[in-house]
């Protein structure tokens, strides 16, 4: 079993090796001011497959990403957009006027952003009577709750994911779950999982630079029914 603190210690100890290892680096924390912030090495050829599935399900032809640049997610996202034929625009989360202008004039079909950012941005857009066709919200794994902002219109398509660390999706949605407009997920196919009481553990299924081995998730999950896609539906236990 690996706790988060143990994982961080291992990552920090591995820092000197990372420069010589062909891998893609992501930050080890959502908090850029974390004094223990280090790099999380992922497979160099890692592809954001869950994002591709979501954008295809949403039929996204133009995408605006409002994620913090330091998440290091631009390149994988661009690769997904190239694959599905969607043009990509990066919008600084602080610059809502530009984001609104992009939705209106390009026009932008799908907005990818953090759930917290979506709350403020959707309110801003509502004041201007602008709205995208779809939202793709990223929840932080260490967030106390994964709420869907009330300000997002039920008529707009909504997909969600939960990232354990920036750029590391652990809970994903299929086309069926997207339609439910609620915080129900599947565990990413990148991990095997087990639930023991109120604890949920994941282990990387592939041999990768820094595999997770029975890593305890910072939230508890409960199994629900089987989804139309064949996978088990997971819900967070508060």
């Amino acid at each position: 079993m690996t706790t988060k603190n143990e994982l961080m210690e291992l990552l920090i100890a591995a820092e000197n090796e990372i420069a010589e290892t062909p891998c893609r680096l992501f930050p080890s924390s959502f908090n850029p001011n974390d004094p223990n912030l280090t790099a999380f090495p992922r497979p160099f050829d890692w592809q954001w497959n869950s994002c591709e599935r979501i954008l295809r399900a949403l039929d996204a032809h133009s995408v605006m990403a409002r994620l913090p640049l330091f998440w290091q997610i631009e390149s994988p996202l661009n690769a997904v957009c190239r694959k599905i034929g969607a043009i990509l625009f990066l919008n600084e989360p602080e610059n809502m006027p530009i984001g609104a202008a992009a939705i209106k004039s390009v026009p932008i079909h799908t907005v990818i952003c953090e759930a917290e950012d979506a709350r403020g941005f959707s309110l801003y857009l509502a004041e201007k009577n602008i709205s995208p066709s779809a939202w793709f919200l990223i929840h932080r794994g260490d967030a106390a709750e994964w709420n869907i902002p009330d300000s997002i219109d039920i008529a707009e398509s909504l997909a969600q994911e939960v990232h354990l660390f920036p750029g590391m999706p652990v809970l994903v949605q299929c086309a069926s779950l997207i339609k439910k407009h609620s915080a129900l997920f599947h565990i990413s196919e990148e991990y095997a999982w087990e639930i023991a009481g109120d604890k949920t553990y994941i282990s990387s299924v592939e041999n990768i630079p820094f595999p997770l081995v029975k890593f305890e998730l910072p939230f508890s999950l409960a199994c629900r029914e089987k989804c139309l896609c064949g996978k088990i539906i997971m819900a967070r236990i508060q």
Binding site: P27, P32, L69, F89, L90, A102, S105
Partner: protein
């Protein structure tokens, strides 16, 4: 670009399957392409500018499919105009960088001048493992820490990011590891160059001159790195470009002679795929010709003097806008009029180069405390939607705003309200 290539470009862009944009601008009817026969015909083609592009919907300005268009850029909107969204394909013609750096190790890169994924593509094309750390100016310390761990030895970003990165890299003890710096955006000043020379003693500094509207950036390829020799940054055209010089007031052509000054007009076509080929686009930049026929590149070279319309000036993290200052001054009708000059200086400090704004105002009373007025104005003057000038001072970006009577202004040029030094 040769005349034959320009001729072919005009014909291609004025006939199907090209979108009808240029046909409409040139008044071409039917499906027959426009054929220009000589330079006289070329010079009769209307000049394209940002205002024209703003009136053309984005979907009518995209010449490539979404599978081929790489991303969208937005003009900064600093001039007070609406933002212009521009479709872009991937950058080409950037091999000149290999003269100065090998790109074997990771690079710390902002989204300008090139998107992070493009840097990966560039490294991959050289046979190296692509490794890019995206620079996030809102989280500079975190970005630099990741760059340290990755082993980055180069960076590509805006000029005004440099002081921010410099201090964090010194703290992480990796500043001397940097061997290549590519800077874009505002021109590199002497103070900024000396700061970089001091903090990054082992780095070659290469300027990048691009524009959101110009897909086939850079607009100008640097003739040499910045070494301190004046003019600091000198450029020449890429082979996929044709550059012209015009009088910004009349639009008349200016001959490309040594010392000639004028607005740079660019025609640019990177080859297929191309999201927005440009024909005779006014860059809005004033340039001066440095050499008529550079020995190395067999074309004229130029240095950038500044913007044609100077109603705004870029500063780190924002813009000094004349219309914003006018709005603020009108809040003090009893003390001052709304007539002003706003001067921007750059000073060398122990923390690197810093901007100082000096505001010259027409006072209505003799007993006005200009220091207090300056502090008040600074607290109200927005340099970007999230920051006032006063907040920028607290953040260490700027020196305090100074206020002086307009009769002591340096220029006396009433038609220019924002002046760079």
């Amino acid at each position: 670009m040769t005349f034959e290539k320009l001729q072919s470009l005009v014909a291609r862009l004025t006939a199907p399957p090209a979108p009808p944009l240029y046909k409409k601008i040139y008044g071409v009817r039917g499906d027959q392409p426009l054929q220009i026969q000589n330079w006289g015909d070329w010079l009769k083609l209307p000049l394209l500018d940002k205002d024209m592009l703003l009136n053309i919907p984005f979907q009518e300005r995209i010449f490539a499919s979404a599978f081929k268009a790489d991303h969208i850029r937005v003009s900064s909107g600093t001039s007070g105009k609406l933002p212009l969204f521009c479709p872009r394909t991937y950058l080409r013609g950037m091999e000149y960088r290999l003269r100065y750096h090998d790109f074997k190790k990771p690079i710390l890169a902002f989204g300008v001048p090139a998107m992070p994924h493009w840097h990966e593509f560039f490294q991959h094309s050289l046979g190296y493992t692509p490794r890019v750390i995206v620079f996030d100016p809102k989280n500079a310390a975190a970005s630099v820490r990741l760059a340290r761990i990755a082993g980055a030895d180069s960076m590509s970003l805006f000029t005004f990011h440099i002081p921010l990165i410099g201090e964090y890299m010194r703290k992480e003890n990796i500043n001397e590891r940097i061997r290549f710096i590519e800077i874009a955006g505002e021109a590199c000043t002497r103070a900024m160059f000396e700061y970089m020379r001091n903090i990054f003693p082992n780095a070659i500094i290469l300027p990048f001159y691009g524009s959101s509207e110009v897909e086939d950036s850079p607009i100008g390829m640097p003739c040499h790195p910045i070494t301190g020799e004046k003019p600091l940054a000198v450029y020449h055209a890429k082979t996929s470009h044709y550059h012209e010089l015009i009088d910004p007031e009349s639009g008349a052509s200016i001959e490309s002679r040594l010392g000639a000054e004028g607005e740079l007009v660019i025609s640019a076509y990177p080859g297929e795929p191309s999201a927005f080929p440009l024909i005779r686009y006014r860059t809005g930049d004033m340039i001066r010709i440095v050499e008529e026929n550079c020995k190395k590149h067999s074309t004229w070279t130029f240095t950038i003097l500044g913007r044609v319309a100077m109603d705004f000036l870029k500063i780190p993290g924002g813009v000094l806008r004349a219309d914003e200052m006018e709005r603020i001054l009108r809040l003090f009708p009893n003390e001052i009029s709304d007539e002003f000059e706003l001067h921007r200086f750059e000073h060398t400090t122990s923390d690197g180069p810093k901007i100082e704004a000096v505001l010259y105002v027409r006072v209505r009373k003799n007993d006005i405390n200009l220091d207090k007025l300056a502090a008040k104005i600074a607290s109200l003057f927005r340099v970007n939607p999230q920051r006032t000038y006063a907040e920028g001072i607290i953040e260490g970006l700027y020196l305090p705003l100074a206020c002086r009577p307009l009769n002591s202004a340096a220029t006396g040029k009433k038609h220019k309200r924002v002046i760079a030094h």
